[in-house]
Symmetry: C2
C-alpha cells in the first residue's frame, strides 16, 4: 500500500514538474515577442515625447547672407554636439528667399530647454535679433510617427 | 668611347625612369584625395539636383481623419517603394489641426515626375481632392545642404 502511495505521489510530482516545465517553456517562447513589444513601446513613447515644430522666420533682405551664416553655424554645431537635437532642417523659399522655415525636432522638452541655453544657440539668437523681422513658432504633431527622420551633418575635416 | 657613351645613355635612362617612377608615386599618393573629392562632388551635385518643397494644405475639418488615413498610406508606401522619394514629413499644427505642412524631398525632378504617376499617389490625390480646401506648393532651397536628412518608415510586419 505504502509503495503504491509513494508511486502515485512520485507520478503527481512528475506531472506537476512537467506542467511547470511546460509553463516555463511557453514563457520563454513568448519572451522575444515581449522584448520586441517593449522596444516598440519604448520607441513609440520616445517619439510621443518629441517636440516637433515649424519656425517661420522673415529676415531683413539686406542682412540675409549674414543671417544665413549665423543659422548655418548654429544648425551644424547643434547637430554635432547635442544628441537631443534630432532635426534642424532649414529651407528658404525660392520666390521669397527672405522667408525661412525650419523644421525642428527635439528628443523632448528637456532637450529643447538645454538647447536654448547652449553658447552656440545664444550666439545665433543674439547675433540675429536685429536681422529677424518676424518669427512664428508653430507647435505641431507628426502625421506619420512611423516615418522617422534622422539628420546627420557632414563634419568639415 | 662607345662604352662611355653607353654608360651615359644608361644613366640617362635610369634618371628618366626614376623621374617617371616618382611622378607615378606622387600621382598614387594623391589618388585617395582625388577619389574623395570626386565622391564629395558627386554627393554635392546629387544634393543640388534635389527637389525640396513645402506643401501647405488646409483640410476640411469634417474629413480630417479620413484625409490623414489617405496621407499616411501614401507617405508610407512612397517611402517603402520609391528610392527617389527621400523625405515626406507631414505635420499638423497643434492649434489648427486642419493645417498640414509636408516637407517633401525628391532625389531629382525625374523622381518627382515618377512619383506623381504611381498608383499610391493617384489613390491619395483622387481620394482626397474633395477634402482639400487649399493647397500651396512652395519650392525651396535648403540652407545647410551638409545637414542631410534621411527618413525610414518602419515596416508593419
Amino acid at each position: 500500500m505504502k509503495a503504491i502511495l509513494a508511486k502515485i505521489s512520485k507520478r503527481k510530482n512528475m506531472e506537476s514538474f512537467n506542467i511547470q516545465f511546460a509553463l516555463v517553456r511557453k514563457a520563454l517562447k513568448t519572451l522575444p515577442f515581449f522584448l520586441l513589444a517593449t522596444i516598440l513601446c519604448a520607441d513609440a513613447s520616445a517619439q510621443q515625447k518629441q517636440m516637433v515644430r515649424l519656425a517661420k522666420i522673415v529676415v531683413d533682405s539686406a542682412q540675409l547672407e549674414s543671417y544665413k551664416a549665423f543659422a548655418k553655424e548654429e544648425i551644424e554645431t547643434s547637430l554635432l554636439v547635442e544628441p537631443g537635437v534630432l532635426t534642424l532642417y532649414a529651407v528658404a523659399e525660392k520666390k521669397n528667399p527672405t522667408h525661412i522655415t525650419i523644421l525642428e525636432i527635439y528628443a523632448d522638452s528637456n532637450a529643447y530647454q538645454k538647447h536654448i541655453k547652449t553658447p552656440h544657440f545664444l550666439k545665433y539668437k543674439n547675433g540675429t535679433l536685429h536681422m529677424v523681422k518676424a518669427l512664428e513658432l508653430i507647435e505641431t504633431d507628426p502625421l506619420v510617427p512611423a516615418a522617422k527622420l534622422t539628420q546627420v551633418v557632414e563634419r568639415k575635416n
